[in-house]
């Protein structure tokens, strides 16, 4: 578990560590993602970065999120057909997804035991395993 504070200076370092040129917009977007440690979607990221003064366009938000993904600085979580969540936690873990509220909660990878994955067809390699536990309020 990370204990770093998510200052803008630390964001600059983080970006550099991932080979990303730290620009104003990228710093703000990284800060939004990491300081609201959680699971934001693109429009939430945009709302947060533009809360005070509108300074980042939709195109840049999407460009930047995709750049972060490519450089593996963040991860995407696909649980809702209508939008992608971006997860600043790249340490292996899984998720509870509350289908009523849309809330995502982490499950530590240590907490789940997974055995007996079938062999892959030849010529394929595993990119990752996502476990999503869909939950809802009891009736």
């Amino acid at each position: 578990m990370r204990t770093t504070e998510y200052t803008r200076d630390n964001m600059v370092d983080l970006l550099r560590q991932h080979g990303i040129n730290p620009t104003h917009q990228r710093i703000e977007i990284a800060h939004a993602l990491f300081s609201h440690y959680g699971h934001l979607c693109a429009d939430q990221v945009m709302a947060i970065t533009n809360a005070k003064h509108s300074e980042t366009s939709k195109a840049t938000v999407y460009n930047t999120l995709n750049l972060f993904l490519e450089k593996k600085m963040i991860r995407e979580v696909i649980v809702d057909p209508s939008k992608v969540f971006y997860d600043p936690n790249t340490y292996p873990h899984h998720h509870f997804y509350n289908t009523a509220t849309g809330e995502l909660t982490d499950i530590d990878v240590e907490d789940i035991g997974l055995t007996g994955l079938p062999q892959l067809p030849p010529g394929l390699v595993t990119e990752g395993v996502d476990i999503i536990v869909r939950v809802r309020p009891s009736p």
Copy 2:
């Protein structure tokens, strides 16, 4: 594993078993899903049902797929941010997802051992557990 043939007559029975009034369009859509045993998305379903004569509108395709989901006659698989796959196999199982080709392959639930799911916060119940193994061609 089902061995039934997916004739239109059998589709009528299947619809009735799920409390769905079997209309022409619903029979065709069920037939498309079950005879192409696999994982289709809405536009593929529409293309198949309208292959010979165009007789089913986009609205009906979506209405019907959502009705089938509601009645638990099929399942949705959310792995691609841009579209939903519909899965006629409602027996518990998981998926390989080939991120390069978009291909989905079933993993029998018996083949995977899953232990130690963390306790749910009170007031929540589990709807289901989806395991997605993302794979890609080895480089």
